[in-house]
């Protein structure tokens, strides 16, 4: 694996965001899996620009403890005292590259919260991070990540379990809906061509990246960028089918062989993202989103917007599959390609449409995920690839509606795992474990047809 903080070059107006994540024992500390987990709804009172970066201190969701103090020593020797607010945030605008030293004042930690000792048993209260000026076409401040692990023994008593469940359920449905956008497409491709496309995850990343490039590099308004992204992604689907998949199908290339071609494509795309955009997380929108609270559930307006769009699009796709000519043709091809061809359906055309639709949906999913989950990174897709496969398999291989249900189940399961007491690091693992267990009991998935399994 490539160390994300060592690779990559930040372009355009983004400077450094030094994220200092104070994570409780139960939540994941680290860069990679933080994607879908901890950092979601933070207020950004500091906007990165070519002149400055942001030093962000954040407590994970669920530990909204105000008043934890820490001392920041800047490279020029100044010291700044920072304090977390009610939401567990603190953001400091910084302007100079160099070494920052952050020291937590342990006496300000509330009862039940303590710094987690490292593997050697030392409690480290001081950490340093270097923000360096990178050479390149454009100088920029490279971020450095700093992690403190905090033990929060009884923080869960702070919020009643029922409220946590409600919040997790809402987040789960949100994640599930966004996963569904991508997995329905994956399922349609599988259904019509039998191909398990490993590069579908990169199509999701592509969505987020395209939106990012449009909004942040070229200043396209977000909504327009989102629409354009969907179109661009759909076009990649058309192009792929035209250049790669259709010729391979016509040559009678085997499915395993094609699957490995998708693995190659996925690898190539991941590193293309790194070459073009860099290896760090980038954000499509850097403005702060307002939050809406309904009872115990708090979601950002962006989240609500994304969920609304997802529901709308999924309904339209569902309706189209059931009611339109093309939809029926698609289902006919999924059912039995030879028969569909014999009854006058242009199978190639249907499959091409499926590719366009699937990649467009994946692109949309990517934009929404980037919006809701605090940015997109070259391996964002890779992170959710298995969740997509799990959703598709859970629902029954090749059934589009099964994929929808599967995605919702997976989404909720992922978000519920930490609340129900399992280590947060295992939130993806539990989803996969449930998948394996389900396959043993019901190999055809939830909506699959039993007799097709030999």
């Amino acid at each position: 694996m490539v160390d994300a903080s060592r690779l990559g070059l930040i372009r355009a107006g983004v400077t450094a965001c030094l994220a200092l994540v104070l994570a409780p024992l139960l939540l994941l500390v680290g860069h990679s899996a933080a994607y879908a987990s901890t950092v979601v709804d933070e207020p950004a009172t500091c906007t990165p620009s070519p002149e400055n970066g942001c030093l962000r201190v954040q407590l994970p969701r669920g530990v909204e403890v105000a008043g934890i103090q820490f001392l920041v020593e800047t490279p020029s020797g100044d010291t700044v005292l920072q304090e977390t607010d009610e939401q567990g945030f603190s953001i400091l605008e910084v302007t100079e590259p160099g070494e920052y030293t952050v020291t937590i004042d342990e006496s300000t930690l509330p009862p039940g919260v303590a710094i987690l000792p490292d593997a050697q048993g030392n409690v480290i209260v001081t950490r340093t991070a270097v923000l360096e000026l990178t050479e390149g076409r454009q100088a920029s401040l490279r971020p450095a990540a700093l992690n403190f692990s905090v033990r929060a023994e009884d923080y869960r008593s702070v919020t009643p379990l029922s409220e946590q469940l409600a919040q997790a359920l809402a987040s789960g449905i949100r994640l599930g809906l966004l996963l569904a956008l991508a997995s329905v497409g994956l399922s349609l491709i599988y259904g019509t061509t039998g191909l398990s496309s490993f590069s579908h995850a990169e199509q999701v990343t592509l969505g987020g990246m395209t939106a990012y490039v449009m909004v942040q590099w070229f200043g396209v308004p977000f909504l327009l960028a989102a629409v354009l992204t969907v179109i661009v992604c759909g076009a990649t689907g058309y192009l792929q089918d035209r250049v790669i998949w259709q010729p391979l199908r016509h040559r009678g290339v085997g499915l395993i062989q094609m699957m490995i071609v998708t693995i190659g494509l996925s690898l190539a795309l991941q590193y293309t993202f790194q070459v073009v955009v860099g290896a760090d997380t980038v954000r499509v929108l850097t403005t702060q989103a307002a939050t809406v609270s309904v009872g115990p559930v708090t979601l950002t307006t962006q989240s609500l917007f994304a969920m609304g769009i997802a529901v709308l699009v999924l309904s339209v796709v569902g309706f189209a599959l059931l009611r339109t000519r093309l939809g029926r043709a698609t289902r006919a091809v999924s059912d039995n390609p030879a028969l569909a061809a014999a009854s006058g359906i242009d199978v190639d055309r249907v499959i091409r449409m499926v590719w366009i639709l699937s990649t467009a949906l994946a692109g949309l999913s990517g934009v929404m995920l980037a919006l809701v989950l605090n940015g997109v990174k070259w391996n964002s897709g890779l992170q959710i690839l298995l969740l997509l496969f799990a959703a598709v398999t859970l629902g029954g291989l090749g059934t589009a509606f099964g994929a929808l249900i599967g995605a919702l189940i997976i989404g909720v399961m992922v978000e519920l795992t930490p609340v129900l007491g399992a280590p947060g690091d295992l939130k993806y693992a539990t989803a996969l474990l449930v998948l394996i267990l389900l396959l043993m009991v019901r190999p055809q998935g939830i909506l699959g047809k039993a007799q097709r399994v030999g």
Partner: protein, 394 residues
């Protein structure tokens, strides 16, 4: 995942059957394409070996007799080819070859087997167990893992094994990263090599000091020296010998039979389930062995043995040629050294203003990805593979 539609049981001739029949007809290639006489095979092998030796010798010569960018690059490529990690991956690829190349099992979680082997080995060593026991523990972990994965899935259609292996490998990685297990696995930081390497370097009879041979200059023992290289490649040789003995036997024939058609083998009274389990077990254990060697010169990093590594293993297998004896080793060596070559060439040719060194490294991965695609499309049998036997689209 990839579903081969099961034959429709029943008399109804469905369109599916017609298609299947049709494919069989297409399968019948003219005789001359099928005949690959042993003579031409030997000639081909000789030519390939000759070219390989020549290229190596030329690079060696350039690397030792000149200085500059190109000789430097040659030396880098040679060093990469001889790296213990290359040998480690080669062993894992040989294991995958047993799974996929010979038996047709779709294991997309070989890195999981490696990780498990590495954990078992390193944790046992850092708790003071003797090294032979540590190796056995690593192998036993992989064996248990194979049984856990195989018992429920090997009776189902092939793609279920694929889903389960890739998922289980990921679960392993997540569990290994778990901060609660920090005392055992080191959490996301992994286990430092110094914690377990001692008893391995103690075995060395190479003595202290450095030895330089051509472009290679390493400590005799050291952390990443001649000793670990010698052990790694000797292991590759032993594994090759064992695999050769196994696959030329009637057991190996049985594996290929299962790859071709399970039902046919079943109808001949063979216990297909057992054969697949044996193959899974042996290939997985080889994966674990590769994992142990992989971590000897470095440290156990759960994230270093994730999906990417699995994909590299697949690429190496297809590059060298599945269902061949030497293909996996050749594939692994080529995979790593060609990437270094691409990186070096890109870095040297493309000016920094267009692509930095870092981007050149990333670009080399892009090329690897594209190479994998082209390879699978245009030469599915790999370098050493037999065209007829190794089209894996049956």
């Amino acid at each position: 995942m990839n579903e081969q539609k099961p034959p429709v049981h029943g008399d109804e001739v469905s369109p599916d059957d017609l298609v299947e029949d049709y494919e069989i007809e297409v399968d019948e290639l003219p005789e001359e394409l099928l005949e690959e006489s042993t003579k031409s095979k030997t000639v081909k092998t000789l030519i390939l070996t000759g070219v390989g030796v020549f290229v190596l010798a030329a690079m060696w010569f350039v690397a030792t007799n000149f200085t500059g960018t190109i000789p430097n690059l040659c030396a880098q490529v040679l060093r990469e080819a001889l790296k213990p990690q290359t040998a480690a991956v080669a062993i894992a690829v040989i294991g995958l070859n047993i799974h996929f190349g010979f038996t047709g099992l779709l294991n997309i979680g070989q890195a999981g087997f490696m990780l498990l082997g590495a954990y078992g080995f390193a944790i046992a060593l850092s708790n003071g167990l003797p090294i032979w026991l540590a190796v056995l523990i690593g192998l036993a972990c992989a064996a248990v893992f194979s049984l856990l994965l195989g018992i429920p899935t090997l009776k189902l259609r092939g793609d279920y094994l694929a889903i389960v292996t890739i998922s289980a490998a990921e679960i392993l990685r997540y569990v290994g990263r778990l901060s609660q297990l920090g005392d055992v696995t080191g959490g996301s930081h992994g286990l430092a090599g110094s914690a377990y390497r001692g008893s391995f370097t103690d075995l060395s009879f190479f003595g202290d000091g450095r030895t330089a041979v051509g472009p290679f200059n390493y400590h005799n023992t050291g952390v990443d020296g001649w000793w670990v290289r010698a052990v790694a490649w000797a292991t590759v040789a032993v594994v090759l010998l064992i695999v050769w003995l196994l696959v030329r036997s009637p057991w190996g024939r049985l594996l290929r039979g299962v790859r071709e058609d399970e039902d046919a083998i079943r109808s001949l009274g063979k216990n297909v389930y057992m054969i697949k389990m044996q193959a899974l077990l042996i290939g997985g254990s080889l994966g674990a062995l590769g994992g142990m060697i992989y971590v000897l010169p470095t440290s156990v990093q759960p994230d270093a043995m994730g999906r990417s590594l699995t994909f590299f293993i697949w690429t190496a297998l297809l590059l060298g040629g599945a269902a061949t004896i030497f293909g996996p080793v050749l594939g692994a060596i080529l995979f790593f050294s060609v990437r270094i070559l691409i990186r070096g060439v890109t870095d040297a040719v493309v000016p920094d203003s267009i692509m930095t060194t870092q981007q050149a490294a990333q670009f080399s991965w892009v090329v690897v990805g594209v190479m994998l695609m082209l390879l699978v499309i245009f030469r599915p049998q790999g370098i050493l593979g037999n065209k007829r036997e190794l089209q894996f689209n049956a």
